[in-house]
């Protein structure tokens, strides 16, 4: 017979709807829109959107103590495994050749991390705690896995918005970067043509590079060891050429599966009551600012290099000193060609870009070290 209790059970779902969950479901729709219609990082934003939607359905069993999303979170995000696995894949796909040909670009990558700290200062001014501020600053590196890794340790409660911000801005590189560059450079500077010289990078150097970086960074900044270790492991596998199957697996199958898990797990952290706070908005705005400042710092540093070398460095490539590889380099090339169609600086921009990849990891480790957190 239908009694009060049965009806209550039947209506449990409808009764469980809160305004926060409704808003979050709306946000998941926005993420779906960005991923599907706008093609912004669909590989990540779609699973994140799905995780967000699934987690915010009333009484969602998926985020209960043994629900799948919770299990995924505990399995790979809580202990930082997923971002590290993805890093192996990125390392396996990144060719550091352009950087090795021009080692001085390493410094451009370093300059590109300046925005991290400026944003950190701003976040502190806005009243975030030191841990939170550091996590927000890291968005400026435009490096998804690093952001997840750092904020997972320092401020796990802000993982959702930070990840969404990091990945969204990564796909917004072509939109955000050009105005910054145009604002900071003159027409003449953008038209500078950089000479090219190529040297054959021996296999030995290519193999030595990841090993040396692991040893050097690992010794000096132990907190960066997991990140740099995995990144360089991937690169070592690629350059050694002896474990092609592992290289392929880590850059395809493993990366794909982990991306799905990571997206779902991150999405599941975006639960209404935690997410819908003014701080989320600040995170998004500050993340954008961090990104802009990173580009600006890179460009300004490149200008300094240009001055030192006597006009041989096009300041545009400074903007490529962030992590989004190779998109940032491509965008730099496009800006240069707007000015002078026959100006090709993609290779140089790629060098700066690869440096940014390494530098953002180093910066992440440095931040962790200075905070005295992590392992």
């Amino acid at each position: 017979m239908i009694d009060q209790e049965t009806i209550g059970l039947l209506l449990k779902g409808v009764n469980g709807v809160t305004w926060q969950s409704l808003v979050m479901i709306g946000i998941s729709f926005v993420l779906f829109y960005l991923a599907i219609a706008k093609d912004y990082e669909p590989l990540l934003l779609l699973p994140i959107g799905a995780g967000c939607l699934l987690a915010n359905l009333p009484l969602s069993p998926l985020v209960a103590s043994d629900g799948m999303l919770k299990v995924l979170y505990d399995m790979g995000v809580g202990n930082e495994m997923f971002p590290l696995l993805i890093f192996i894949g990125i390392g396996a796909l990144t060719d550091f050749g352009p950087l090795l040909e021009n080692p001085k670009f390493v410094l451009l990558g370093a300059a590109g991390q300046f925005g991290i700290f400026l944003t950190l200062l701003l976040a502190l001014l806005l009243g975030f705690t030191t841990n939170e501020a550091a996590s927000i600053g890291i968005i400026g590196a435009i490096d998804g896995p690093t952001s997840i890794y750092v904020s997972g340790i320092l401020a796990p409660h802000m993982l959702g918005p930070i990840t969404v911000a990091a990945y969204s801005y990564m796909s917004l590189v072509p939109i955000i970067m050009p105005p910054v560059v145009y604002f900071l450079t003159t027409k003449q500077e953008r038209a500078i043509r950089m000479p090219y010289s190529s040297r054959k990078i021996s296999r030995r150097t290519r193999i030595l590079f990841p090993i040396i970086v692991i040893a050097l960074v690992g010794t000096l900044v132990p907190f960066a060891t997991p990140l740099i270790g995995m990144l360089m492991l991937g690169n070592l596998m690629k350059e050694s050429g002896v474990v092609e199957r592992l290289t392929k697996a880590s850059s395809n199958e493993i990366a794909n599966a982990v991306t799905l898990f990571l997206g779902l797990a991150i999405g599941s952290t975006m639960v209404g009551t935690d997410f819908l706070k003014p701080s989320t908005l600040f995170i998004l705005v500050l993340g954008l600012l961090a990104f802009g400042l990173d580009c600006a710092a890179g460009v300004l540093f490149a200008k300094v290099l240009n001055w030192i070398t006597g006009g041989k460095v096009n300041p545009i490539i400074g903007a490529a000193g962030i992590s989004a590889f190779p998109m940032a380099a491509r965008v730099c090339q496009r800006i240069a060609q707007e000015e002078d169609f026959e100006n090709f600086l993609l290779m140089h921009a790629m060098g700066a870009n690869a440096a940014g990849q390494v530098a953002s990891v180093v910066a992440g480790g440095v931040v962790l070290a200075l905070m005295g957190a992590g392992g």
């Binding site: 093609d39 990082e41 669909p42 590989l43 990540l44 894949g89 990125i90 796909l93 060719d95 352009p98 950087l99 080692p103 390493v106 370093a110 991390q113 700290f117 400026l118 200062l121 001014l125 030191t130 501020a133 896995p145 990945y167 990564m170 796909s171 590189v173 072509p174 043509r193 090219y196 190529s198 040297r199 054959k200 990078i201 021996s202 150097t205 590079f209 040396i212 960074v217 000096l220 900044v221 850059s251 395809n252 989004a324 590889f325 190779p326 998109m327 380099a329 491509r330 090339q333 026959e342 090709f344 993609l346 290779m347 921009a349 790629m350 390494v358 180093v362 440095v366 070290a369 200075l370």
Partner: protein, 134 residues
């Protein structure tokens, strides 16, 4: 205020460390390259760019670095390819309309067929000629 002071300290220390670390890396890399003793060769910007495009194409597969590129066909922007296609098609059509040499059975001035103008003209000129003694 305490936080700010701490933050400033972080900035100086952090950036210093990052720069120092990477400068060290630079030094090491330069050293390795010295040991490599590979000669530097001047290359054209185009060559370098083609190489860079190859590297970029591989990295494009990485999760979280997908450029929202315009659609391409064999590496050329799709709208450019479409424009080229339309232009060639139009050109082809014009060539056919104007019976350009390429679409003709015989090239203009071709010697495959004797010029009838010449043949009839010569025949007319020679009409009254009789070989001597006939």
């Amino acid at each position: 205020m305490e936080n700010i002071a701490w933050g400033l300290q972080m900035t100086v220390l952090g950036m210093g460390l990052v720069f120092a670390l990477l400068a060290l890396l630079w030094l090491l890399l330069t050293l390795i390259l010295k040991l490599d003793k590979e000669p530097e060769v001047e290359v054209s910007a185009q060559e370098a760019t083609i190489e860079a495009e190859r590297i970029a194409a591989i990295a494009d597969d990485a999760v979280g670095a997908q450029t929202p590129e315009r659609p391409t066909v064999n590496g050329m922007p799709a709208d450019l390819v479409a424009a080229i296609l339309v232009a060639t098609h139009k050109h082809r059509k014009t060539m056919r309309r104007q019976a350009a040499p390429l679409v003709r059975i015989a090239w203009p001035g071709s010697q495959i067929f004797a010029s009838r103008w010449l043949a009839t003209g010569r025949a007319r000129q020679n009409n009254n000629w009789q070989p001597r003694g006939k």
